[in-house]
């Protein structure tokens, strides 16, 4: 498989000037991205996660040509983004979760018409893509509504459609589900899945929402302090971070702490018990064991908090 996105020892250093008194400033260098290397193959769907200020947005900005790297080599579809920004723009789609690219006071369709002309999309192609987006993202009733009247979820769907009309080979999504309700999230995720499977569009999404990753991405990259901490499957991440999942068990009555292999009870409150077990493991044998030995009423599995996993991972790295 060919590497579609190549990032080779890329660095980004910001110079921050801080005022320390009248006319006095101290210059300080902040390394937002530190010797970052990875490749993404065509058609992959990658989740890019990390705490705030870890360097996620900086990476995406370098990949889209908004920022120029301080050092290292960067290629997207063989193009150097900051050098050939406009040429690259035809081949990428970008959705900024927090800022809309749509025209606030105009009907949604007008934003699409602008894209049609600005990107010089052939008429037939435009109609086809618009039709598909309208159908899958359920935008039909919204096309003639001014963007300012759309809800956050509707606007996000509108933004995603706007980023896809010119058939980009790669789609960058920055927090695509932030602030959306459950139904809107599900719609957005369903669409992205379909897009990746159907058109083979490469997708790179930054998110705080673990479920986005879980439902969409076969691969996760974790970045912290500008360094790549982990690159691989999601399950592996839990192992690497020694994350634990929690099984919440409701029994018929109050009982002493459950005894089961490879798990420990972390909390007991009346008939409810909380059991922690390694995140890399399936919950099925454990559930089967408890169901066989105890009077089980109900249960649920809680995923480990991604931030906690990363924090733990980082703490370990610092020690070793």
């Amino acid at each position: 498989m060919d590497a579609f996105i190549e990032v080779d020892r890329v660095e980004k250093v910001f110079e921050v000037r801080r005022r320390t008194g009248f006319m006095k400033r101290v210059k300080r260098q902040v390394r937002a991205v530190d010797s970052l290397s990875f490749t993404v193959a065509r058609g992959e769907m990658v989740g890019y996660i990390g705490p705030n200020g870890a360097g996620k947005s900086t990476t995406v900005k370098m990949l889209t040509g908004i920022l120029m790297p301080s050092a290292g080599r960067l290629r997207v579809a063989g193009i150097d983004p900051s050098r050939d920004r406009t040429r690259l723009a035809h081949r990428i789609g970008v959705v900024f979760g927090q800022r809309t690219t749509l025209w606030w006071d105009l009907p949604l369709i007008d934003s699409y018409r602008l894209a049609h002309r600005m990107y010089r999309i052939p008429d037939a192609r435009y109609r086809e893509n618009l039709e598909r987006c309208v159908e899958l993202l359920e935008l039909g009733a919204l096309l003639d509504v001014p963007v300012r009247q759309l809800s956050l979820g509707q606007r996000m769907r509108g933004d995603i459609a706007a980023a896809l009309l010119h058939d980009p080979e790669v789609l960058y999504l920055d927090e695509p589900t932030i602030g959306l309700d459950v139904v809107s999230k599900a719609k957005v995720r369903g669409f992205l899945k379909e897009l990746n499977a159907g058109s083979g569009t490469t997708v790179l999404l930054t998110t705080h929402d673990l479920q986005d990753i879980e439902q969409l991405c076969s691969r996760v990259m974790v970045i912290d302090h500008g360094r790549l901490m982990y690159d691989g499957a999601l399950a592996g991440l839990h192992e690497a971070g020694e994350g634990e999942r929690t099984l919440v068990v409701d029994l018929e009555r109050e009982l002493p702490p459950i005894e089961a292999p490879s798990c420990r009870v972390v909390r007991v409150a009346g008939p409810r018990q909380w059991l922690a077990f390694p995140a890399g493991r399936s919950a099925a044998p454990l559930v089967a064991h408890i169901a066989a030995e105890y009077p089980l009423v109900d249960l649920s599995v809680r995923e480990p908090d991604i931030e906690a996993v990363i924090a733990k991972m980082y703490a370990e790295k610092a020690v070793s």
């Binding site: 900005k61 301080s70 900051s82 406009t86 040429r87 723009a89 035809h90 006071d105």
Partner: protein, 274 residues
């Protein structure tokens, strides 16, 4: 796709985006009508103050009312053209601050064209209209000894003046990459410069005139060439006779300098970011 041509691409993007903004403005028709009307009243009153001044005096710095109107018309019209075309560039600082410049950077069009067309405001045509009216009055009322060269110089001055003011707008926008709240400083040079040029150079101190001629060459918008057309001495004694025909050169120089400043600004944004 062919080779990429920034100028034609830029103009095309400009037209598309300006069109979107015009339609956005027209969704609030009443508001548009009111601001347009208000703008016309304010710009209209601007020249009235000069007329009122002449009810007390016969000449201002040696210039009669039609002659001052000539300066005023040239300055207001060329500034109006520049303001209409790329006056919105002074909003760049805000876009840098709130991060929405990134949206422009991922579009396949030159950023300068997009920034210039940002919030394109049709009501700014009011300034051009008012300036042209005053200029028209000046051409009728003043007794200029017309020659073909002088007649050609009038539209020439408008074009060159517009280009010089545009260069000031672009340079100011470029500066906002570094200092995001510098739009007021920029206004001092654009709006301030325009007001300065509406009065005869003879009412100002020599140092100011010298600065506006050599350092910040606004004098070539109207003072120097208009002095030639009106058959008056140049604002500065030492200027050669051909200085009246220098505006195209000055305009090209200003635009080149502004383009360099813009490139440097954009580059610094791409290396600093937010």
């Amino acid at each position: 796709m062919g080779e990429y041509r920034p100028l034609t691409e830029g103009l095309r993007a400009y037209r598309l985006i300006a069109g979107m903004w015009v339609r956005s403005t027209l969704t609030y028709r009443a508001s548009f009508a009111m601001t347009a009307f208000g703008g016309l009243v304010v710009t209209g009153l601007d020249f009235v103050t000069i007329v009122l001044m002449f009810s007390r005096v016969d000449v201002l710095g040696g210039y009669s009312l039609p002659e001052v109107a000539f300066l005023y018309g040239l300055s207001a019209t060329s500034f109006g053209l520049a303001d209409l075309a790329i006056g919105s560039a002074d909003r760049l600082g805000r876009r840098v601050r709130d991060g929405t410049l990134d949206i422009l950077l991922v579009r396949p069009a030159p950023v300068l064209a997009q920034v210039a067309a940002d919030r394109f405001a049709l009501r700014r045509i009011g300034r051009v209209a008012q300036g042209s009216l005053v200029l028209g009055y000046a051409l009728i009322a003043s007794d200029i000894a017309w020659t073909p060269v002088k007649a050609l110089m009038v539209p020439g001055m408008l074009v060159c003046g517009g280009a010089i003011f545009s260069a000031v707008f672009v340079a100011g926008a470029a500066f906002q990459f570094v200092a995001q709240d510098a739009s007021e400083v920029q206004h001092a040079f654009t709006y301030g410069g325009q007001t300065l040029l509406q009065y005869p150079p003879t009412v100002f101190g020599k140092e100011l005139v010298r600065g506006v001629t050599f350092m910040f060459p606004l004098a070539f918008v109207n003072w120097v060439p208009a002095a030639y057309v009106l058959g008056r001495p140049y604002p500065l004694g030492g200027l050669p006779r051909w200085a009246a025909f220098a505006p195209p050169l000055v305009a090209v120089g200003c635009c080149a300098a502004a383009a360099l400043a813009w490139r440097a600004g954009l580059r610094s944004y791409r290396s600093t970011g937010s």
